[in-house]
């Protein structure tokens, strides 16, 4: 069902105390979209993702998931989160569990799947990210890139409709960035709906269907990757990209 609107954000704002972090954010996501969010550190990218996942409560505005406002108090938040997964910069794998258990626990405890089915699914996704041989390892025994691939498999095992990535490669040594991006490219090709906060501009240009540039808590500019990277309309976007490309 590519093209159908799955997520719509209207006039979203978020304030911490007196600090306005997000201001009147509007955007929507269609099924199959890969949306990359770029922008300087502190511009509110993480907060936006965390609001979408309800790890932060939006101050005002609405977030419609299939036309249902998830900021409503009556919303069943855990059940919504099984549909909208999240991959973190710092992996957040469960340290008390093996790789396989990390991918099983949500399926069994939250989705109430039976063990055999859950195991098959977990193995399928671990194979996809190339971590199947490591099912018996504990997170502390893995490299950063391996941990992030497991974290992606854990999120996929829930079979979410949308997957959010918050700088999934920023905590990695340079030689491990590629292996995680490769997995994400595959997922994009397969049509998974993703919202990705990233500083990997080449990746954003090649993979995304749309790029959102954020600055100071607002969306400065959004559009097709070719436009944003090749022909940005706003000066601030141009300056950000120039600064970024220079390093």
């Amino acid at each position: 069902m590519t093209g159908e609107k799955v997520l719509e954000i209207h006039h979203l704002s978020k304030t911490f105390g007196t600090n306005v972090v997000l201001r009147d954010i509007d955007f929507s996501v269609n099924a199959g979209d890969v949306t990359c969010i770029i922008g300087a550190s502190g511009s509110g990218k993480s907060t936006l993702l965390r609001c979408i996942n309800l790890l932060e409560t939006p101050t005002t505005g609405e977030i419609l998931y299939h036309d249902v406002d998830i900021t409503d108090r009556k919303m069943n938040v855990p059940s919504y989160r099984t549909k909208v997964g999240m991959v973190f910069q710092s992996f957040n794998l469960f340290n008390n569990m093996t790789v396989l258990e990390n991918c099983l626990v949500g399926q069994i405890k939250v989705l109430k799947k039976d063990k055999e089915e859950a195991r098959k699914k977990a193995m399928m996704y671990l194979e996809k990210v190339g971590m199947a041989p490591y099912i018996n390892a504990k997170p502390k025994q893995l490299s950063g890139g391996q941990k992030q691939r497991v974290a992606i498999a854990r999120a996929l095992a829930m079979e979410p409709e949308i997957l959010l990535f918050d700088e999934p490669t920023s905590a990695l040594d340079p030689q491990m960035v590629g292996e995680v991006l490769a997995v994400m490219r595959t997922l994009a090709k397969e049509g998974l709906t993703m919202i990705i906060v990233t500083h990997e501009m080449a990746f954003a240009r090649d993979v995304s269907s749309r790029v959102v540039y954020m600055a100071g808590g607002v969306i400065e500019e959004e559009g097709a990757p070719a436009d944003i990277f090749g022909n940005p309309k706003k000066n601030s976007t141009k300056e950000f990209l120039n600064r970024f490309m220079q390093g």
């Binding site: 989160r81 099984t82 949500g106 405890k109 939250v110 671990l126 996809k128 390892a137």
Partner: protein
């Protein structure tokens, strides 16, 4: 039988005559310490978990009020029992329960009760600290796959907190083995009380308490070794086995990665 004149002779004499007293005293000491630590841990976990339940603004006001009230009462419990000597608590509870409420506790029941709630107060703080020490990312990882607060606690946070506070549980057990001797003030016949009786009979304080020193040390030392072994077992193996062939039968859509170990070989 008369008392030998040399030190070791007297030790042997006392052991022959009063061995069973020492054993039953030691048994009572261990029973109180183990049961008290165990129940104390349960109390501590319950209290510690309640104290870390977040008060959410979106909850209804009555629920928020009750939660705050409960936390306040539990705080009072923790502070009072941590802030007063167990010996005084023992006297207060044992005699107070009969004066105030007309309850006649047996000394043994009082012993279990006092050690349990005393340990509970210490463990509550330990558990609370143990829960708060777990990285916030663990909670967020759990929430992100749809776990509720309760599921997150049971599956992710508590197992890690429990592992982190194992040394503290062990410490509490050892402290309880030693501190049960204060219960002699309410007439609990544990190791210290039993020893006093033995020592008084022939006026052999040095010898009797020499034996008791050794017994206490054996008890605490053995327990700390067992607990350390248990901690190691909880950590699991240091290395892991790579899973073998059948899981490597990759399905379609697989991304191939070089094995990091192969790279190192080159």
């Amino acid at each position: 039988m008369s008392l030998p004149s040399d030190f070791f002779g007297r030790i042997v004499f006392i052991l022959q005559l009063y061995g069973p007293s020492f054993l039953s005293g030691a048994g009572k000491t261990m029973a109180i310490a183990i049961v008290g630590t165990f129940i104390g841990c349960i109390i501590g976990f319950a209290v510690g978990i309640i104290q870390t339940i977040p008060v959410i603004k979106s909850d209804n006001p009555i629920k928020r009020f009750l939660l705050k009230l409960l936390k306040f009462i539990l705080n009072v419990y923790v502070e009072v029992f941590r802030g007063t000597p167990m010996m005084v608590q023992a006297m207060f509870i044992f005699y107070g329960s009969s004066v105030l409420f007309g309850i006649n506790m047996s000394t043994v029941f009082a012993a279990y009760f006092i050690v349990s709630i005393n340990t509970g107060a210490y463990m509550a703080e330990t558990v609370r600290g143990g829960i708060l020490s777990i990285d916030q990312g663990q909670t967020e990882g759990a929430k992100a796959i749809g776990m509720t607060h309760f599921q997150t606690m049971v599956n992710v946070i508590m197992p890690q907190a429990l592992r982190n506070i194992m040394p503290q549980i062990g410490n509490n057990l050892i402290i309880n083995i030693k501190d049960t001797c204060v219960l002699s003030v309410i007439g609990v016949v544990e190791l210290f009380y039993a020893t006093k009786g033995v020592a008084g009979a022939y006026y052999t304080y040095f010898e009797a308490f020499g034996i008791t020193m050794v017994i206490y040390f054996i008890l605490t030392f053995t327990c700390s070794r067992i607990l350390r072994y248990w901690e190691k077992k909880m950590d699991g193996p240091d290395s892991y086995d790579l899973a073998t062939t059948d899981t490597l039968a990759y399905t379609s859509g697989m991304v191939k990665f070089p094995d990091p170990k192969e790279k190192e070989d080159k």
